[in-house]
């Protein structure tokens, strides 16, 4: 994406595009590990959804179903907060991909 010059920007450093953080794929920050969802252990407490700083926990028809890896930074908060004895979220190794700027 071509970045604006200073003359093309809105006055006062305002952001005029509400909700444009969806275009910021924070999943590209992930490095070395990612959460894995084990559905059988999940009690649908929504702690992971509540604690996730990047809204990367996927919820479908009122149920946690996994993660949106476009936004998951691999921070591990969800696995840490998962309260079940047998964890429904575990962190697993992931080979780090080098992602070029501007590409998914």
């Amino acid at each position: 994406m071509k970045k604006e010059t200073w003359t093309e920007l809105a006055i006062g450093a305002l952001n005029l595009q509400a909700g444009n953080s969806v275009s910021n794929l924070t999943g590209t920050w992930r490095s070395g590990r990612k959460p894995e969802f084990i559905e059988d252990n999940c009690i649908q407490c929504f702690f992971c959804w509540l604690y996730c700083p990047h809204f990367a926990v996927r919820v479908e028809e009122g149920k946690v179903t996994g993660f949106n890896y476009d936004y998951c930074t691999g921070c591990g908060l969800c696995a840490e907060e998962c309260p079940t004895k047998e964890k429904a979220i575990v962190m697993v190794k992931e080979e780090t991909k080098i992602i070029e700027e501007g590409k998914k």
């Binding site: 970045k3 200073w6 920007l9 809105a10 006055i11 006062g12 305002l14 952001n15 005029l16």
Partner: protein, 393 residues
Amino acid sequence: MKAVKILNGNQTIAEAARQINPDVVAAYPITPSTAIVETIAQFKADGMISSEFVCPESEHSAMSVCIGAAAAGGRVMTATSSQGLALMWEMLYIAAGLRLPVVAAIVNRALSAPINIHGDHSDTMGARDSGWIQIYSENCQEAYDNFIQAFRIGEHLDVRTPVLVGLDGFIISHSAEPVLIEDDREVRSFIGEFKPVFPLLDTSRKITVGPIDFTDYYFEHKRSQIEGIENSPRVIEEVGREYGQKFGRFYGFFEEYRMDDAETAIVVMSSAAGTGKDAIDELRSEGLRIGLLKPRVFRPFPHEKIAEALKKIKAVAVLDRASSPGAFGAPLFTEIRSALYDYGQRPKIVNYVYGLGGRDINVEHFKEVAAKLQKIAETGKVEEMLGYLNLRE
């Protein structure tokens, strides 16, 4: 109806605020500007203004309220002094960076330590890189005129930059003078309706004010901010001319007093310029060809115009009511000396720090400076470039 009233500087600013009737006034009292806030609060209690009057817990909060109210889409003002302005410091940059045209009356007072309540320019000079436009006043009438113009300048769509108007603590804030207060309706029509730009209260358009910038955008946004203050000279000139046409008192970037055939000149801002003019009159009657230049606008600094006005003078003394420890001279001096650098013909120039913590400056002190300038003009030699005036040595 317009009328001459006997008012001190604080009452004068409050009177202008009453006429302007901003949407929000948020201020915290501090000597010597307290009476501005008190008087506006009285106006509010008496139903003479419809402004929302907010009493926050500190000056930092006062400026924060101003920023929030301005971002919401309101015309906003505050007043403070010294430590109060210092406590606002981080918020000053935010008001400027968000391009919010907040107007502040700053009753200039020394900064601690040692603690001192009297007038000098340390407070506003400390804020000189905050991005605010700075206008200084010699007397109550100028404080009134400057404060009204400040709204027009800051709110102009090409500028959208906060403006502070300085007036000297006690010397102006607490000295009563006859002030011509213009007709309420005339002042209101001069100011005009406030035009909000992307106000937060316009819920039909969703925006974010103050999001974070990383290395890829901060620099461009800062450059964009600088454009606002760089557009302001034209607006300051237009507003000063229009104010003159309407009310009879014209304003520019600085005032020149008996400079036409001057060989030497003294540059001094604010109330001391009044004393300086008396000294110039006496010195002129003694046969000295000396003049005075009083900067009114310090930010944006009118470097070309001041250099043009001073380039043919033989010797110039710049008087600063603030020090800049460790710098090559005090703030006004460094600006003027730098402005003259590109001129082949330029004066010898010296700097005197004066009046810190409200120390008096009298006609005799100006005469002392004039004598030194005369010697420099005759010999072409500067013995002491940076000095102090009326200091026990």
